[in-house]
Every structure is written in C-alpha cells, then in structure tokens.
C-alpha cells in the first residue's frame, strides 16, 4: 500500500524566525541559515530537537555579537521527510528566502532531492545527520557519522560479548536503510559472521508482520535494523516487542531521544552513537545546562542528531569568520580548516568533507535512559569523497 | 367525512406530468377501485398518495388533515398502508421480519396484530422463518397485504394485488378485502385491471385515462362486464 504522506506533496513549509535573544541593534543585514527538516513524516519525532539545538546555537552566537557583526536568522522549512517535500523546501529556502547557508539534519531521500537545488543555487550545505556515506558535492560538508564509524562497535560487541554468529537485517527501503545494511552485511562477512536474511519495507511502511515472522523463523542470533528515523523505527520496535523478539537487537537509526519516547519497548536496544547525554566533558555539561535554561519544560532531549546541528551552526560561524565573508565559495574553502570544541568533542570536517568522531556503544534501559558500554576515540570516516 | 380525498393533484417524473389533475374520494369502510389500461397513471397515483412521489400541484387530505407536503413515512405512520404492485415484499427478509416491517404503519396501533393476519392467511404462521423470496407469487402478494394490515390502518392503498397471481388466490384476496371493510371498517383504494377482483370487492370505481379520471363507475356499472372491459382493455 502506498503511504506517501499528504504533507510531502503539499510541502508544508514552516518558517520560524528566531532572532537573537539579545535583541541588539540590527545594524547589518542578518545572516540567514536555512534549516530544511522533517517536521512531518518519518523524521517528525526527532525534528523538534534539531530545531531547538539550532535555536540555542543562534541565540548564543547572537548574544555574543553575531558573526562579523551580523545577527543570525534561522529559516526553518518542513521537508516532509521525503524527496518531494525536500524539493519544495530547498527551492523556497534557496530561491525565495535566499539563505546564506543550509544546515540541516534530514533523511537521505530529502538530502538527495535537495542537492541538485543546492548545486543550482550554489549555497554551502552542512549536513548534520548520520547517514549511509558517500554523498559528495562541491557544496556539501558532513559532520555526523557514516557506517565506517558506527557499525563496527555493535557488530563486534554482538560477536564477542553475546556470541552471535548469525544475523538478520531489517531496514527501510531507501538510501540510508539499504546503504547501512549493505555495509553491515559486508562487515559481518568480513568478521566471519553470517547474514541469514535482509528485508526492507518502504520508508513509511508500518506493517512489519511478515518480516518479523521471517526473522523469527530464521533463528538468527542477533538483529540489526536500520530504518528511517521516527515512525518506522517506532512501529518496528513496538511490533518486535509485541511479537516477543528478545535476541540482541542493534538499532543503527535510533537516537537517545527517540528511544526515550518509545518507553519500555526500547529497553535492551543497543545503539552506537557519536553523542550520548552522559558524555562527561565540560562542553557537554555546559550545553545541556544551556539547553535546559533556554527551553525549560519544552526541552526535547538532545541527541545524536540534534547535537551535530548545534555544532554545525558554530562550524559555519567559524568558517565565515575565517573567510571574512559569507560568500559561498570562500565559506566552502574555509570549512575544511575550522574546528569546533562541542559537546561531542573536537569536530573538524577535514577528512574528505567528513569528520573523525568519537563513538559510543550503549544500551537503552527500561527507564528510557541509556547505559554506556564502551567508547572508541576518533574513529576515521574512511574514504568518503576521494575526488573532492 | 371522506377518509381520503384528493383535489386536482398533478405529479409525474422529470419533465412529464403523469397525473394531470386527479380528484377522488374514499369514504370510511369503502372499497374503491381505480381502473384503466397500463400506463394511464394508476401506479403513479398510488405513489403520489403515499408520498413517494412529490406532489406538484393540488391537495391531499387524510381524515380531514392536509398531508400534501408530508413525507411517505409520516403518512404511513398516520395510518395509510401501502402494498405496492408486483412482489412488493423484501425478498431477503423472513416472513416474520416482513410482517414486522408493517408495525410502523399507524401510530395509533403500535403493537402488530399478528393474530389478525394469521386469521386470514394461516399459511404465514407456518412459514415465519422462511425468506419472503421463497414464497410463491400469490403468497408474496398475500404477505404484502398482511404486512400492510398488521397494525390495522385506516386506509389501504393496494396496487394490483392480482398481478401475476393465480385466479383462485385472487378470489381469496377479494373475499378478504370485503370482510376487512365490513368487520374492521378499513377503507381500501384498489388499483386493478383484473375484472373479477373488481367485481367481487369494489363498491365503486374511478376510470382513468391519460392521467385523468374520465368517469366514475357505480356498483351497478361494475357488474357490467362490457363497460368495465372498455376501460381496461381497449
């Protein structure tokens, strides 16, 4: 059945204009940061936290005097978590709102749909979502993890600590889902494990019945899933739990916030992330404090998708300052060189437009919190865009 | 006072008027027939009287009340029972359900009087749980009449009960109508082509042609088969 969402077609577009808290003099023209994000559809679970992170960064920067004396203005647009919506959102941001930069966490479908528009409009684009890797464009930088950084901790842990030899893979049928699981299958084979099956459902499919039955009858030792964020992830987890699946379960697409929303159903899931709230660093503690202070009760739990967004805004600020201008080409050239000490540690996108990251393996607890199992320092993203 | 009277009623379908000013009266306890060839507007008259076809002009009064603008179900609840032409029953409902469908007719008598109709049509009692559609044509006709009468309405509109029914049963129906009007003083307006039935049952008749009443036939006229035949056949 098709489950294309009305919202995708309409490309419902929300514009939230966030001006600096300081409300200082608006002498110079503002710098517009476009944030196309999935406020509806699959990503809607996590999108609000992403917007909050960007809002905090903008507020902090504006309070401190802005960038080159100019205030930052955020322009948020709903991409409907899909290609069609993304097209409208990117069109509107690039050509109508004429933003200076795009910084966003999006589905792979939306990113792919947006890239031609970015190329046409020649706007820098910092992508802040973990993804399947190898997305390359002269205008694109990525500050979140790729499979090379994320998959190994989970598979290694399952094979050593849980003694798993056979795996079953389930995903959403789109670039991220397939990309992640193909990498995972290769990695498992490389480590001497066996993949008993891999199954996909369209990105917004919700009926996993047949796939779960296949999983159960396969007798696999462990399960690794990679769905579109949000709704598919939630429905899959719910239905897995309802079906009584209790083998080790690694979820490549769940973040801490979503896990919290899912309640007891998420308990026991293994996640591998570049950010968890428990990171003891000063930067993280300060970030969490400021988020709480800024958003109070409305605070959405910061997570592996929202924190890179926060850092992305700062990376852009540093690049503009280094370039001394918001000119697209100059900013693109400068982005390689700047580094930001954020909640996740030092972030610099200097490995073929991608960033080496510290990764954490953790398990979701029954109360929605997570338990850190181990961490891996400065994992390299590998060969992502050798031609750039 | 007449139980039913119409004054110059006009009704029809789409752009065509089928009834072109029909005025008739039915007295309490009277059995009145409407005769005429096929297509002169007899069935249209019945549908207009019960309210399934809107009145375009004219007036219908029932028991002295103007019911011209009322819906069919309102008229039925006032006590006008309607037994349509042909197999006017619900074929997929059981006999009992078909009979129960009559219990909204006549608000004055909300409890269906099963004994009354079983008295006249004993076969119904034996076939209560049988589907209406499995009855024979004649039995279906009797079921339709029984249903119309189960709450003892003041007026029965009966559209060609003889259509597709064996002569012996037609006679039975005739006798029953006569008894009904005598013992329960229920009035009957009967649309018929069957000469036999008219002769046994009707007190008098209206002859219709081309949407108008062309003449009134007295009880005497009804006995004359030749007069009757001119109105029915050619």
């Amino acid at each position: 059945m098709t489950k294309t969402r009305t919202a995708n077609l309409a490309g419902a577009l929300a514009v939230a204009t966030v001006l600096g808290l300081g409300g200082g003099a608006m002498a110079a023209e503002t710098i517009k940061i476009g944030i196309p994000v999935g406020l509806s559809g699959a990503n809607s679970v996590v999108a609000p936290s992403v917007v909050q992170a960007a809002e905090l960064a903008a507020a902090e920067i504006n309070k401190a005097g802005g960038v080159l004396g100019r205030q930052i203005e955020l322009v948020v647009a709903d991409d409907g978590s899909g290609a069609q919506g993304a097209q409208k959102a990117f069109d509107s941001l690039v050509f109508q709102k004429k933003v200076d930069v795009l910084i966003s966490m999006e589905t792979s479908a939306a990113r792919n749909a947006g890239l031609p528009i970015v190329n046409r409009g020649r706007v820098p684009f910092i992508y802040t979502s973990f993804y399947e890797g190898r997305s390359c464009s002269p205008w694109l930088y990525v500050n979140a993890w790729v499979p090379e950084q994320q998959v190994a901790p989970i598979v290694d842990h399952f094979m050593s600590a849980e003694g798993a030899k056979t795996f079953f893979l389930v995903g959403s049928d789109y670039a991220f889902g397939r990309g992640m699981l193909e990498f995972t299958a290769d990695y498992i084979a490389q480590k001497g494990g066996k993949v008993l099956g891999d199954e996909y459902l369209p990105m917004d499919g919700t009926d996993w019945t047949a796939i779960i039955s296949k999983l159960k009858s396969s007798g696999a030792d462990a399960l690794i899933t990679s769905t579109a964020g949000g709704a598919p992830n939630v429905t899959l987890t719910k239905q897995l739990r309802a079906a009584g699946v209790d083998i080790p379960y690694g979820n490549l697409a769940v973040d801490e916030g979503t896990a919290r929303n899912m309640g007891a159903d998420a308990a026991g899931i293994y996640i591998s992330a570049s950010y968890i709230t428990d990171i003891p660093s000063q930067e993280n503690q300060a970030f969490l404090r400021n988020m709480k202070a800024h958003f109070g009760d409305d605070l959405k739990t910061p997570n592996d998708l929202s924190v890179p967004q926060y850092e992305g805004v700062y990376l852009y600020k540093l690049a503009v300052e280094k370039a001394g201008t918001t000119d697209s080409q100059a900013v693109i050239d400068a982005l390689d060189d700047v580094a930001f000490m954020g909640p996740r540690g030092k972030i610099q996108m200097n490995k073929q437009r991608h960033a080496p990251l510290t990764m954490y393996l953790a398990q979701v607890q029954a109360d929605g919190g997570i338990r850190l199992i181990s961490s891996f320092k400065d994992v390299d993203p590998g060969e992502q865009c050798p031609n750039l | 006072m007449a139980i039913l009277s119409t004054s110059k009623i006009i009704a029809g379908y789409k752009t065509a008027n089928v009834l072109r000013g029909v005025s008739i009266e039915v007295e309490p306890g009277e059995i009145v027939a409407v005769v005429g060839r096929n297509g002169v507007g007899k069935t249209t008259l019945m549908r207009t009287l019960i309210g399934l076809l809107p009145l375009r002009e004219g007036r219908i009064t029932f028991n002295g009340m103007d019911i011209s603008g009322e819906s069919a179900d309102r008229r039925a609840r006032r006590g006008i029972a309607y037994a349509p032409q042909g197999r006017g029953i619900f074929p997929h409902l059981t006999v009992q359900e078909n009979l129960r469908m009559g219990s909204f007719i006549n608000d004055a008598q909300p409890v269906p009087n099963f004994d009354l109709v079983f008295g006249y049509f004993p076969f119904l009692k034996e076939r209560l749980s049988q589907r209406g559609g499995t009855l024979s044509g004649g039995q279906q006709a009797m079921l339709a009449i029984a249903r119309a009468l189960i709450c003892e309405p003041a007026l029965l509109l009966l559209d060609e009960p003889s259509d597709g029914v064996q002569p012996s049963i037609v006679e039975e129906i005739g006798a029953f109508l006569v008894d009904l009007s005598k013992t329960r003083s229920i009035s009957v307006l009967l649309v018929e082509q069957n000469i036999g039935l008219m002769q046994t049952a009707a007190h008098r008749a209206y002859a219709m042609d081309k949407g108008q009443v062309t003449s009134e036939l007295s009880g005497e006229d009804l006995k004359d088969e030749m007069i009757l035949a001119t109105h029915v056949v050619v």
Partner: protein, 608 residues
C-alpha cells in the same frame, strides 16, 4: 431489387469546405499566451518562475484529467501514474544508461510508449462493455498504487523510497525551462481545445451524458475510452518527463495516488469540462500552495479542502462557469452567437431489398436466475411491416427488445438479421447490422444541443472529425421529416434538456432514424405524448414502413394506437408468444381480453 443512389457519393464523407474550425481563434489566443509566457520571466522573481515551471507541467496533466473526467465522465485517480512513468523514464535512462540528445529522445519515447502501453492495458481492463463507471474508477485508483509499488520494489535501480536525483540533465537557465514548459502547455491546451470543440469532442460529451444511448447509436464507446485514456497517458508521460528533466529529482510521490486526487481537486475547483478552468485551477492552486504554505501552512490546505467540498456539493461544475456567467453579465454581447448548422438531406444509400428477411428469431429465451422471462420465442419480421408487441406488464416485451439489440442479452436461441447471425455482440455492433433501438423513456444527451445529438447519431455513417466541426447536418429523409414536423428544426441550438417531453421523444426517434436503420425497435414511443404528437409520430412510422420499407417492432400499451398503425400484432404473455396475427384477429380475440383481464391461465402457471 436495388435502389439507385439519387445523389452524391454513397459513403458521405463531408467535404472540406463545410468544416468549421476554431483554428484561427486558437492560434491567436495561443500566440498571445506565448508572448505573455515569453516575457513573464523578466518580470517575475526566480522563485516564482521556478515554481511556475512545475505548475505549468502539472497543469498539462490536469488538462488530461479534464478530458477524461470533465468531458468523457471517466473519474480517474490515476493520471499521476503516467506522469510518474514519464518522469522515471527520464531519470532511469539518464542515471543508468547515458545522457545526451539521443538518450533524451530515447527516454522520452520509452516513457511515452510505456505510459501508452499501461494505459491501454488499464483501459482494456476498465472499460469493457457493461463495466460500471465505478469499476473504471477502481482501476484508475489501483493504477498509481501499482506503479508506486513497482518503484518501491525497484531497489537501487529506481531508488525505491528515496527516488533518484542528481542524474545528469540539461542545466539550462530557468527561463529556458520556463519557456519549454509554457510552450508545451500552450500546445497541449490548443490541441485539446480544438479536439473538444470538434465533432469528436461532442461524442465524448455524449458518452459522459449517456453511455448506453451511445452504444445503441453504434458508437464504439469502449474503444473511444481506451484510445482517449492512451492519449491522455502519453501527454501525462511527456509532462512527467519534462518535470524530471527540470527538477533533476524523481520520487515515488510523483506516481502516487495522492497526486492523482490532487489533480481532481484542481480540475473540480477550476471547473470540469471547461479545459481552461482546470489549467488555471492547477496553476493557481499549485503556485499559491508553494507561497502560502510558508506563512499559512495548514490553514491553506484546510481552505482548499473546504473550498473543494463546497464546490462539489454546491457548484458541481466548478468556478469557471460562474466566472464566465459573470463575464457575460458585465460585458453584454460577450455571448458568442452559436452557429446553427444547415440541415441537409443525406444521400440515399444503396441497399439490397427483398433478398433476406430482416429479422428471424428462433428459440430465444432469457432467464434471470431461475426466473424465466422469455421462453422459446419464434417469429419473423418482414420488410415494410409494423409489428406491434403487446401484452400485460411483465410479459417480457422489453426484454425481447433488449435481446434483439444487444447480443449479450439472450440466454439462448438464434437471431438472424438479414441473413447474418447476431453473435454475442455489444449493441454498437448490432447497430452495424441495421438495428436501431429507441428506449422507453426519452434517452437523449442532456447538455448537447438538438443538432449535436443528431450529429453524434451519425457517428457510424459520417465518422466525426477530431479537429473540426461540420457546418452542415446531413440527415436521412425520415429523420429530417421528424425534425421538421415536430418543430425541432427551429430548436437546433437548444440543449436537449430544455426540450419539452414530447420533443425529447421525437428527438430520440430522429436520432435512431439518423442511423439509417433497416429495423427499428421502439419501446413505447408515445408514452407521455399528447394526442396530436402521437398521431404525428404514428403517421411517420406508417410512412417509414410503406415508403422506406423499414421493418418496425413496436412495444405499446395504447391499444388504440396499435390498432391504428400496426400491420401485424404479436401478443406476449408470461414470456411466450400466445398470438401472432393481424390487427383484427388480435383485437377481437377473447384470449387477449382474458389476458388483460387477468383471467387467462396458460396451465403452467406462474407459481414457482
């Protein structure tokens, strides 16, 4: 015996001189539209031009929905499927095979051919003889769902849920794309305009108004619907191709059911069956959505939803007719003077006479389940005979007529028409044998004018032009007489729905006679007519049998009328022929009297 053709060629192809066409006006308007589109990019900002390009392509798609739904009455949810096929053809070829002018032409050709093939298949499934309009809609509903799932199932090849993007394409300037999209829309609209205003366009409306009547006028309804569906699919595929080439992104939503319903909304709001309304509706709503969804995200969609419901409930014809009405009120004289076609006598066709019996019926029976409606009907109809079928209600008269005019109707038995077996044929093929049928209730095309109704009836004999309309209306003698004698000749420009009841009956009879049938089946042609009208029709029928040697079968209740005009009478009772004889024999028969009086029994009874 062979009658000579009196004048003109036997097969009357209308001469070119008689063709009227809107071509001049259309060219002028198109040129004006092209000029506006040509300068528009210089006055609009880049964002507006950008979203207009998409809107223009979608408007062309909406136009095909209007052709199908507004004009022909096929409620389609599926046009998005063809749009998607065109778009994916572009993306797949450019992504996987190659890019360049040759590849582009190949991709376009593949997309159009695939769309046409899918449309042909779906049309064959949806528009069979006897299909309900709902079934057609069901198939068009399934279509985008199937195409979308195929895209999903394509994995890496089709990009599945994420679609394909970033494939090489022509990075022309945005103005260039705007001009391409604009020119495409203008051309498609112009062609569609000529098409719907042509004689063939009238046939489409006739199908929408009354498909059954069309079939019995010998119009191959199924074939026309399928061909139209295929053509609409091809246009949709071209639009989709352009969309993909411009946006450089294809996604499953492009082929989806939701886009299909959105097209319906645009068409309904703009005004179905107005061509321009849907185009304006599509452009206006799509562009406004892109703009307003920024500041009024949900309220705008809510507003469109409410407007849509209100229009469907209260103004089913959409907003365009209201605008036109207002325009006519404000600008007196804006109403175009309709051109009344000149009535002409059609050349008499050569027919062989007296060689074969017009109609031979043997052993025909018909049952519905266990109910026998006709059993063992045998009779022969002769040339120049007016044969009346009489009998009480339910005797099977209308059923018999149906069996003669539609090869699918009878349960068994043989019917021969001029020596040729009537097979299991749909009504339009029965018409080709020379059978014309008039229905019981007047069955005309409500929104067509009298002249158009008659012209549509000439479909089989004078194949209508796709682009022009004939300024003359050729009718055979018999039809001409009815038109002239009943006053229809003075109302050629009146829409059929505004005619009086009697005139409608006369019009339908004229339409049937316009088919130049050799056998005419009439089901109560005088029901609801005044005495004068009846007499007039009676006289015409008698002369048809006497002068033109037609064979007429008449179902009639009015025995006076039967007695006046019949040459022979068949009495049906309980599905059987009980009497077949002259008028005197039948009218005087005691049996007939008994049958009508309800006292006759045939012994077998009708008690099941």
């Amino acid at each position: 015996m062979v009658e000579q053709a009196q004048n003109g060629p036997a097969k009357g192809q209308p001469s070119a001189a008689r063709q009227r066409s809107d071509l001049g006006t259309v060219l002028k308007v198109s040129a004006a539209a092209l000029v506006v589109l040509g300068v528009a990019p210089f006055f609009l900002d880049i964002y507006t031009v950008n979203i207009l390009i998409r809107a223009l392509l979608l408007a062309a798609l909406a136009l095909t929905v209007d052709l199908l739904w507004g004009y022909t009455g096929i409620l389609t949810f599926g046009q998005s499927a063809f749009f998607g096929i065109g778009a994916y053809a572009c993306a797949l070829v450019f992504t996987h095979w190659g890019f360049g002018a040759g590849w582009a032409i190949l991709a376009l050709a593949l997309g159009v051919l695939a769309a046409m093939a899918v449309a042909g298949l779906a049309g064959w499934l949806a528009f069979y003889h006897g299909a309900s309009p709902l079934y057609g809609s069901i198939v068009t509903l399934a279509l985008p769902i199937v195409v979308t799932q195929v895209v999903f199932a394509g994995g890496r090849t089709t990009g599945s849920s994420s679609g394909l993007s970033g494939f090489p394409t022509y990075y022309w300037t945005i103005e260039t794309w705007f001009w391409i999209a604009g020119a495409f829309l203008v051309v498609v609209t112009a062609l569609a305009w000529l098409f719907v205003r042509s004689d063939m366009g009238r046939v489409l409306v006739a199908i929408r108004e009354n498909e059954t009547r069309c079939a019995y006028l010998g119009i191959p309804v199924s074939r026309i619907k399928i061909l139209l569906f295929v053509a609409a699919g091809a246009i949709g595929a071209v639009a989709g191709f352009g969309y993909a080439a411009f946006t450089n992104v294809v996604a499953p939503e492009l082929t989806g059911f939701l886009l299909g319903t959105e097209l319906l909304i645009w068409v309904a709001l703009g005004g179905r069956g107005t061509l321009i309304g849907p185009v304006i509706g599509a452009i206006f709503i799509d562009v406004t959505s892109s703009y307003l969804s920024g500041s009024l995200p949900f309220y705008w969609k809510l507003l469109v939803g409410i407007l849509f419901v209100v229009v469907i409930v209260a103004l089913p014809q959409g907003l365009m007719p209201e605008v036109t009405k207002l325009w006519r009120r404000l600008v007196p004289g804006a109403k175009r003077a309709a051109e009344t076609p000149a009535l002409e006598r059609a050349p008499v066709r050569e027919v062989r006479r007296g060689v074969e019996k017009p109609l031979a019926v043997s052993g025909v029976h018909r049952h519905f389940g266990s109910l026998q409606v006709l059993q063992g009907i045998d009779f022969v109809a002769n040339e120049g005979e007016l044969l009346s079928l009489v009998g009480p209600n339910g005797a099977g008269k209308t059923t018999l007529i149906r069996c003669l005019a539609d090869g699918y109707e009878r349960s068994g038995g043989d019917i021969t028409v001029f020596g040729r077996e009537l097979g299991r044929w749909p009504p339009d093929r029965c018409v080709a044998l020379g059978i014309g049928r008039k229905f019981q209730t007047a069955n005309v095309f409500a929104t067509l004018t009298v002249a158009e109704c008659l012209r549509v009836s000439r479909y089989r004999l004078e194949p209508p032009s796709l682009w022009t309309s004939d300024t003359a209306l050729e009718l055979p003698e018999a039809a001409l007489r009815i038109v002239e004698e009943t006053g229809l000749a003075q109302s050629l420009d009146t829409e059929a729905r505004h005619l009086a009841h009697g005139q409608k009956q006369a019009l339908e009879l004229a339409m049937v006679l316009a088919l130049e049938p050799r056998i005419v089946l009439l089901d109560e042609p005088t029901a609801g007519l005044t005495r004068i009208e009846r007499e007039r029709i009676g006289a015409i029928l008698t002369s048809l049998t006497e002068r033109e040697r037609l064979s007429i079968l008449l179902v009639e209740h009015d025995l006076d009328f039967v007695r006046e005009i019949s040459s022979r009478v068949i009495v049906l009772h309980q599905g059987q022929i009980v009497l077949d004889g002259s008028v005197e024999e039948v009218v005087g028969s005691a049996l007939v009297r008994e049958i009508y009086a309800g006292t006759a029994m045939d012994g077998k009874g009708n008690e099941p």
